[in-house]
């Protein structure tokens, strides 16, 4: 292993040398063909195969995931072992809700900056189609009673106390997408933002259409190099993000009914991120590792910022994270060439754009002297976003970082920010530079 051994061996910079992701597979009926660890393994294998070093030379593997299956405790370690890192490479799992994949990159970068590691594999994985259906505490209590009942009479007594209401299932994914503190569903937080910034249904729907069409264009012109094809046990090949709708149109989306605020809301399945399975990785390296293995550099991870805000307005997280990042790096908004803001909801991205340019918001909520400015929509999510390709929650943060680097190369641009809103009222932003 190349682990730095002296305390003074800290790295001054963190580079992203390569990255790879699986296609994002829309959850259809029932669990998809891959578990979270399967996706992570299939995404990492080709990435590692093309490196000049062996998997066992990694110093650490960090994986973001919110809903691993019960067989995937510390899924980061499960995946590290499955991809052939061997016994000696430590691995862990991080969870910062929708930003878990970005957290994994941040955690890996910190290890490198601290001099604890030189080569880190970091990413996110999620198979939302595998989200379990659970029993509530009443049923769990009853089961405990049943298991400990030895005699026939004790069993009869236990049986008699079983109530049909105990059997009511708890659908984990619905609980997961509901704020545990304020009680609003994620979709309702988007409704709150839409109301605050006066975003119309039509604006949301046309944003959603644009996301689909941009992804279609990126797919047809072969810009999504970061995707590696995967095959399931039935021999079905998955080569691209399959949630995309090339026939997406505003008049079609207008027909959909709101799903969160059913009677008066605007947020529909059509203008929200899809429920999706997928995994995404980046390979982080310090200067020494870049030199030692003569690694090509995709870009530099300059800085990261996390921020907290009102859980009811969690969708504005990107604004709250990007603002201090820009200030710390002394960068005006227009110095950022490209943006990836994760599209949890069309309304939420549009609200972020409004907040950036709203003097009142920037003054009162961010404590700035004036508005940050306007983001040119031609520089934002240029190849579509989660509305079109889905939002596997643990994965998206890692995906937008990887894709932003590819966009910077495609456009020969210098600087970009990948930002994500986080359920529970947080935001994360990463500043990246092409070198």
């Amino acid at each position: 292993m190349a682990t730095a051994r002296r305390a003074s061996d800290g790295n001054r910079a963190v580079y992203i040398v390569d990255g790879c992701r699986t296609p994002f597979l829309k959850a259809r009926s029932g669990p998809g063909p891959f578990r979270p660890s399967d996706l992570a393994v299939l995404g990492a294998q080709p990435l590692l195969a093309r490196q000049p070093f062996a998997a066992s030379e990694l110093d650490e593997v960090v994986l973001g995931c919110i809903g691993p299956t019960p067989d995937e405790v510390n899924i980061g370690r499960v995946v590290a072992l499955r991809i052939g890192c061997g016994d000696t490479v430590p691995a862990w799992t991080v969870q910062r809700n929708c930003a878990s994949g970005m957290q994994a990159i941040d955690s890996g970068a910190r290890s490198i900056l601290l001099g604890r590691a030189n080569l880190v594999l970091a990413g996110g994985t999620e198979a939302m189609s595998h989200a379990p259906i659970l029993w509530g505490p009443d049923m769990v209590r009853w089961l405990g009673q049943w298991m400990s009942a030895r005699s026939i009479s004790a069993r009869a007594k236990a049986l008699a106390s079983l109530r049909p209401s105990f059997l009511k299932p708890v659908i984990a994914i619905l609980r997961g997408l509901t704020d545990p503190v304020c009680g609003l569903s994620m979709g309702q937080t988007a409704e709150v933002l839409a109301h605050r910034f006066g975003i119309t249904r039509e604006q949301m729907d046309s944003y959603a259409v644009r996301s689909h069409l941009r992804l279609v264009d990126a797919q047809s012109s072969g810009r999504l190099h970061e995707i590696t094809g995967i095959v399931d046990a039935k021999g079905v090949a998955y080569g691209h993000d399959d949630g995309v709708r090339p026939d997406s149109a505003v008049d079609k989306l207008a027909k959909l009914r709101p799903v969160f605020d059913r009677e008066f809301g605007h947020v529909t399945a059509g203008n929200s991120a899809q429920i999706t399975d997928g995994a995404s990785w980046v390979l982080l390296a310090g200067e020494q590792a870049v030199k030692d293995h003569d690694l090509p550099v995709l870009g530099r991870l300059v800085d990261t910022q996390w921020a907290g805000l009102d859980p009811r307005q969690m969708g504005l997280g990107p604004v709250h994270a990007a603002a201090p990042l820009l200030r710390r790096r002394r960068l005006a908004l227009n110095k950022i060439d490209c943006w990836e803001i994760n599209e949890a909801f069309a309304a939420q991205v549009l609200a972020c754009l409004e907040a950036f340019k709203d003097t009142g918001y920037c003054k009162t909520e961010l404590g700035l002297g004036r508005a940050l400015g306007e983001i040119d929509e031609d520089c934002l999510n240029v190849d579509g976003g989660a509305v079109a390709l889905g939002h596997p929650v643990g994965t998206s943060g890692a995906r937008i970082v990887l894709h932003l680097l590819h966009v910077l190369h495609e456009r020969k641009a210098k600087r970009g920010i990948a930002a994500i809103c986080i359920g529970g009222g947080q935001g994360g932003a990463m500043l990246l530079e092409r070198v």
Partner: protein, 684 residues
């Protein structure tokens, strides 16, 4: 084990020591052998030890092995050739029976402590103990494989296995020769405990100190062995066996069933009958030929037992049937595999097939997941740079192959083995495009890869000998037998097989029923008939191999019917329509009509063309000697193994006779039957 154990007494094969609890630990360790066998010497020494144990009366006896490879793999096959006189053999077997009965009747408990291979005579010895404990790991295998040598168990195994696990499980072990792991053995009642290494000695001690009651057969198993049910069970067993092995060629399974049917009710007479039956089998031609095959197989394996680093990473280019299956097999044998093809859609079917195979063959889900994870899709060919072995299995197109090898040569590690799985293009033609053509070897696998045990290792005079050795070592590492073959059209197997298949097709062309032809071949002892085999190989492949051969060697034309069928898109089993129709795994053969040609002529037309080509290959030096032709054809094509291979069969039948017969056939059917000059060498 305990520190205060008594000093071991030095012996040649066995070590006996007594621990502080007065338990005797007897361990076998045959010197200068990688595995333990029950040779005459081992048995003699064991007999002396038994005398000593009777005097010493320990608290219990543990029989184990000090060898890492395992317990005991069986009797010493090298001694079988001495068993010429059945009555002498019966006597010798009788003395082993007596010895094992002594162990069985010891007043103190006896435990077999089993790890690794516990086969044949080894399992029979273990069955003579009161208890058996086996190490529960991936290496432990228990079985009675005598049938594979045309024999059945002879050290009381036929009696004790039936008594231990019931007739159905016992016959399954003895009639198929398959081995089981420790868990399966425990489930079927063959052993008392299957435990991990950390509990092995504890389990042994517990059985000796507690002496729990031994497992008894349940009512159903007892009933199956009762006098009134035996004939019915035997009828069913015979019916099962007849599907795989006809009685006239394979006497052993029928002898075994008869033995049990007649004597299953009386242990003592069954022991005697076992000894008599196996003594006869030892001298049967079938067993002699199968024993010879066993040794030839060992010879092939020894060619791959050369020193060198094991292969860890295999890169396969071309995910068709062969490439995909080679990749899947290597991953199962513990290697990391990168599988390359132009597009994902070409790899997908290979992955599907592999995962299906793993699901059916690997029961342990953790092990299966590890194997699945070792098989990686690699569209960019990234694996080339890391692989220890690179195997090309793309379309049979010289330019495509040359281009590919130029690229591979640039990207591969300098010490990587570079190999082609071509079946028809001469090695030198492909190597000509490379900077260092001496690196290229042929590794010719057979379809289906998971079943066919042979790999032809092809070299030309220009090939680096070291690379050929490494290819052979790789073959052994993936549990296959390397056959060294000189590069020449069709190599050995296809060259010999092709005229045999073609003659069968020509007969179909002549109006003889395909089913009748296949039946004749099966009666001769082939595992499948030539017509069905051609369908399985693929008629397009048969055609291309046939064309290459007739172009290069000029003997025998490709039958018209083959061209016609391929022209109609009937490619065989792969698209469900060849000479026959295929529905799932079923073959739909047309009703057999009685052929106008005598069956003997049908047989000789196919088989003699095969023999004639075999002799030609031998004369041309395609392989080094006649034994290699024999073992190659048996393991590469399934040529009737009990006949000992084509050259051996020709010698048994009479070289002069065959040549005369060939001359006759040549007059009747044409030059393709003209006897090869090589027959003269066989005559002298």
């Amino acid at each position: 084990m305990n520190a205060k154990e008594q000093a071991a007494i030095e012996r040649q094969f066995w070590q006996l020591r007594r621990d502080e609890d007065n338990i005797a630990w007897l361990a076998i360790d045959c010197p200068d052998q990688s595995t333990n066998t029950l040779s005459a010497g081992v048995l003699r020494e064991l007999s002396e030890i038994l005398d000593e144990l009777v005097r010493a009366q320990p608290r219990g006896l543990v029989i184990g092995s000090n060898k890492a490879s395992g317990f005991i793999v069986g009797a010493d096959i090298r001694e079988f050739k001495d068993f010429k006189d059945p009555s002498e053999t019966t006597k010798m077997i009788g003395s082993v029976h007596a010895m094992f009965s002594r162990i069985e009747k010891f007043s103190f408990p006896t435990v077999a402590r089993i790890h690794g291979f516990c086969l044949g005579g080894g399992l029979e010895l273990a069955l003579a103990c009161r208890y058996r404990v086996a190490l529960d790991d991936r290496k432990t295998r228990l079985g009675l494989p005598e049938i594979l040598l045309g024999l059945h168990p002879g050290f009381g195994g036929t009696v004790r296995s039936v008594g231990q696990v019931g007739v159905l499980s016992a016959m399954d072990l003895m009639l198929t020769g398959r081995s089981v792991d420790a868990r399966r053995a425990k489930k079927m009642g063959l052993i008392d405990r299957a435990v991990p290494e950390r509990h092995l000695d504890r389990a042994v001690r517990m059985l000796i100190t507690k002496q729990p009651p031994t497992a008894k057969l349940n009512a159903i198993k007892k009933f199956a062995n009762a006098g009134i049910s035996r004939p019915l069970v035997a009828w069913e067993l015979r019916r099962q066996v007849a599907k795989r092995a006809p009685e006239q060629h394979y006497p052993a399974p029928y002898g075994l069933i008869k033995l049990w049917t007649e004597h299953g009710g009386d242990r003592n007479t069954m022991f005697r009958a076992e000894a008599e039956s196996i003594s006869q089998l030892f001298v049967s031609p079938t067993s002699r030929n199968l024993q010879r095959m066993f040794f030839l197989q060992e010879r092939l394996k020894s060619m791959g037992r050369v020193a060198g680093a094991p292969v860890r990473h295999v890169h396969v280019v071309g995910a068709g049937t062969m490439g995909g299956d080679i990749a899947a097999w290597c991953a199962m044998r513990g290697m990391r595999v990168t599988l390359q093809d132009r597009e994902l859609k070409y790899i997908a079917p290979a992955i599907k097939r592999a995962l299906k195979t793993y699901k059916s063959r690997i029961k342990d889900r953790y092990h299966r997941l590890a194997v699945e994870d070792r098989l990686n899709i690699d569209l960019d060919g990234s694996g080339i740079a890391h692989a220890d072995v690179i195997i090309e299995a793309i379309v049979e197109n010289l330019d495509a192959k040359r281009g590919l090898f130029q690229e591979i040569e640039k990207r591969a590690k300098p010490d990587a083995l570079i190999a082609t799985n071509t079946s028809s293009i001469p090695l030198d033609d492909i190597a000509a495009g490379m900077d260092n053509g001496s690196r290229l070897v042929g590794v010719h696998f057979f379809n289906p890869v998971a079943k066919m045990q042979l790999i032809e290792i092809i070299g030309s005079p220009n090939t680096d000998v070291l690379q050929l050795e490494r290819a052979a070592r790789f073959a052994v590492q993936i549990d296959r037998q390397p056959l060294p073959v000189n590069s020449s059209p069709g190599f050995l197997i296809n060259r010999i097989l092709s005229p045999y298949l073609q003659e069968a097709m020509t007969m179909v062309d002549d109006g003889i029923s395909a089913s009748a032809i296949d039946d004749v071949a099966c009666e001769f002892g082939m595992p499948v008939g030539p017509i069905e085999l051609a369908d399985t190989v693929g008629l397009d492949i048969c055609l291309s191999v046939g064309e290459v051969l007739s172009e290069k060697l000029g003997r025998g034309k490709v039958p018209e019917i083959l061209r016609t069928l391929v022209g109609q898109g009937r490619l065989g089993r792969k698209n469900r329509h060849g000479f026959y129709l295929y529905k799932g795994k079923r073959v739909i053969r047309p009703k057999r009509s009685e052929p106008e040609l005598p069956l003997r002529d049908i047989r000789d037309r196919m088989i003699l063309r095969l023999l004639n080509t075999s002799v030609a290959c031998l004369r041309e030096g395609v392989v080094a000697d006649a034994d290699l032709v024999d073992v190659g054809m048996v393991f590469g094509t399934g040529f009737a193994p009990f006949r000992g291979g084509p050259i051996h069969y020709a010698r048994e039948r009479g070289v002069a006779d065959i040549r005369t017969r060939l001359e006759g056939l040549a007059k009747q059917y044409g030059d393709r039957f003209a006897p090869d000059p090589g027959w003269n060498d066989l005559l002298s």
